[in-house]
């Protein structure tokens, strides 16, 4: 089975967000980056499918040069090779632009299966996987928690809301967006990191992007919706005051 996994490099959860001077994006140059978490689960699922059915796992990322960090990490975890659609303009691009860049780079590879995370931790469109399916002319299913089969068709478990699920069967080739928690992640071994150095990373220059479908006018920190009382002091002082509020004002205990 020839599997593509589309991954994105996003800012780390720990990074204290700072906004750029134009207030249109974050201060990229100050940020630390990591592999988008749902994409890590998509990669793990691809590696498990390869172990079960044999085949190749190719990671694809559309992003600036710095995205090489997460591509190398994916190779170290076990992907066989990589495609890097490289352009600075992809760092804050809209979902259609990213999907176009990915589709252009993977269309001729004739993958049996394309996996990606259900959404990214940065812009969080939740669109790229599904738009990519439409552009590649493949059927898709989203927010997947289990994958069965692999001979011409897949039976996949879609997560619905409120604890509901649904099995869906679809023919290959297909695109799936993967939910976090579908499997237990593996981490790169020293051997994997050494082996990754010899693996191929094919660089692709994207075709000139079409007009974006949406524009960010301004980014800003959300105003607090509710009057939050922040309690300060030493842990003992803060705990004492909080318990007093909960007993006397909120009457919650």
């Amino acid at each position: 089975m020839k599997i593509a996994v589309c991954i994105k490099q996003v800012v780390t959860r720990e990074w204290q967000i700072r906004v750029n001077d134009a207030k249109t994006w974050i201060r990229d140059q100050d940020a630390s980056f990591e592999l988008n978490e749902p994409d890590a689960y998509a990669l793990e699922e691809a590696l498990r499918l390869k172990e079960k059915h044999t085949g190749d796992v190719v990671v694809c990322s559309a992003g600036p040069a710095r995205a090489a960090q997460v591509i190398r990490e994916a190779l170290a975890r076990g992907a066989d090779r990589a495609i890097h659609v490289e352009s600075d303009a992809l760092a804050a691009a809209d979902a259609f632009t990213v999907a176009d860049a990915l589709a252009g780079a993977i269309r001729d590879e004739k993958f049996d299966l394309v996996l990606t995370g259900l959404q990214s931790d940065d812009q969080g469109f939740g669109q790229v996987g599904v738009v990519l399916a439409e552009k590649l002319g493949m059927p898709h299913a989203t927010i997947i928690m289990e994958v069965q089969g692999g001979q011409g068709t897949l039976r996949v478990k879609r997560e619905l809301e409120g604890g509901w699920f649904q099995w869906v069967t679809l023919p290959l080739p297909a695109v799936l967006t993967i939910q976090s928690g579908i499997n237990q992640l593996r981490y790169a071994t020293l051997k994997g990191i050494m082996a990754a150095k010899k693996k191929e990373i094919r660089k692709v220059t994207p075709a000139p992007a079409a007009e974006p479908s949406q524009r960010i006018l301004r980014v800003y920190f959300p105003e607090k919706g509710k009057k939050t009382q922040i309690i300060s002091g030493t842990p003992a002082e803060a705990a004492r005051e909080l318990v007093k509020h909960l007993r006397e004002d909120a009457r919650a205990i």
């Binding site: 259609f96 669109q127 599904v130 439409e134 619905l160 604890g163 099995w167 939050t228 205990i253």
Partner: protein
């Protein structure tokens, strides 16, 4: 004209449709509501109570059970026919499954997870969260109409949707959807083995997130729950890691709760979690990150190390 795509399953209206109607009424007039399905007349009758110009019952036998291919084929044809300026949808898992393909097929912009609508002269500005809710962005959609807009669950109030003086007129539109064009074969939706814990009945909940760092640290949260007479719950990553069973998960994919007291320990407050608990009467957030979105919904917040603060709370409660 603003077209709202209603969501229904098995003849039951998803109430988030009312939230999308409320948003659409704010965006422009007239509002029309589409109910896709097969024999969904009762759903159409229910949503016809909205102050809308028309309810369009978009019928095709192939739409009896939801599939992405069926919905994209039917709704792209309907939108081409009705020529709306805007299309509004609730940002549900079902919308997430088909709306991006629908927008791509139509070649139109899709702005997802919108929490507010602002008007700037004639142009509409959409507010949507980014970076896990740590930032908001004002966004404009570009290119020809219609723009597709999905509305975050809970961002608009269902009861804010204006009702009409009399039910809106209903028009049936039969759509030709080839059954062979539908590549996904769905089975009946199901729930996993009956949930052992019904957190919706709990008066108090202590909930843990990534800040708890490891399963071995859960004891401190359990001790606080015991001291408060509370149930223990968690955000999704904790259940994904197997540190607590899935039936303790709060959020869009888990349980929705509204207890008297909700204590969030080390939970940043991604929207998927907030939708499951923001109706709680009193919310306490304890987190080392002062920018954590959880502080935006909390009544009381302590910025600091939960491993210092929680033992102090337990000592205080046991005095």
């Amino acid at each position: 004209m603003v077209l709202v795509l209603a969501e229904q399953r098995g003849g039951k209206l998803n109430r988030t449709t009312w939230e999308a109607v409320a948003a659409a009424q704010q965006a422009g007039t007239p509002v029309k509501i589409v109910v896709p399905g097969s024999g969904a007349d009762t759903v159409a009758a229910e949503i016809a109570a909205a102050d809308a110009a028309e309810v369009i019952l978009a019928e095709a036998p192939a739409l009896a059970d939801y599939t992405a291919d069926g919905y994209v084929a039917a709704l792209s044809a309907l939108i081409a026919q009705e020529k709306p300026d805007l299309v509004f949808l609730p940002h549900t898992y079902q919308t997430r499954d088909f709306a991006p393909a629908l927008a791509a097929r139509l070649g139109r912009a899709l702005v997802t997870d919108v929490t507010a609508i602002k008007k700037d002269g004639g142009a509409i500005v959409y507010v949507r969260p980014m970076f896990q809710g740590k930032l908001n962005a004002d966004v404009s959609a570009t290119g020809p109409a219609p723009h597709l807009i999905t509305i975050q669950i809970g961002a608009f109030r269902a009861d804010a949707a204006k009702r009409g003086a009399s039910p809106a007129a209903t028009r049936k539109v039969s759509l030709a959807v080839e059954a062979t064009a539908i590549r996904q074969k769905p089975e009946a939706p199901f729930k996993e083995a009956k949930q052992a814990v019904d957190l919706s009945q709990a008066e108090r909940i202590v909930s843990v997130g990534r800040g708890i760092k490891g399963q071995e640290h859960l004891k401190v949260a359990q001790d606080l729950a015991a001291a408060l007479g509370a149930e223990l719950a968690a955000s999704r990553p904790i259940c994904d890691a197997g540190w607590l069973p899935m039936d303790r998960q709060i959020g869009s994919s888990g349980q929705t709760v509204a207890p008297k007291l909700y204590v969030a320990l080390g939970i940043s407050g991604a929207i998927q979690h907030l939708v499951g608990m923001k109706g709680s009467r009193t919310i306490v957030a304890i987190n080392k990150d002062p920018e954590a979105p959880m502080f935006e919904v909390a009544d009381y917040g302590i910025v600091g190390d939960l491993f210092e603060i929680v033992p102090a709370m337990i000592a205080e409660l046991n005095k």
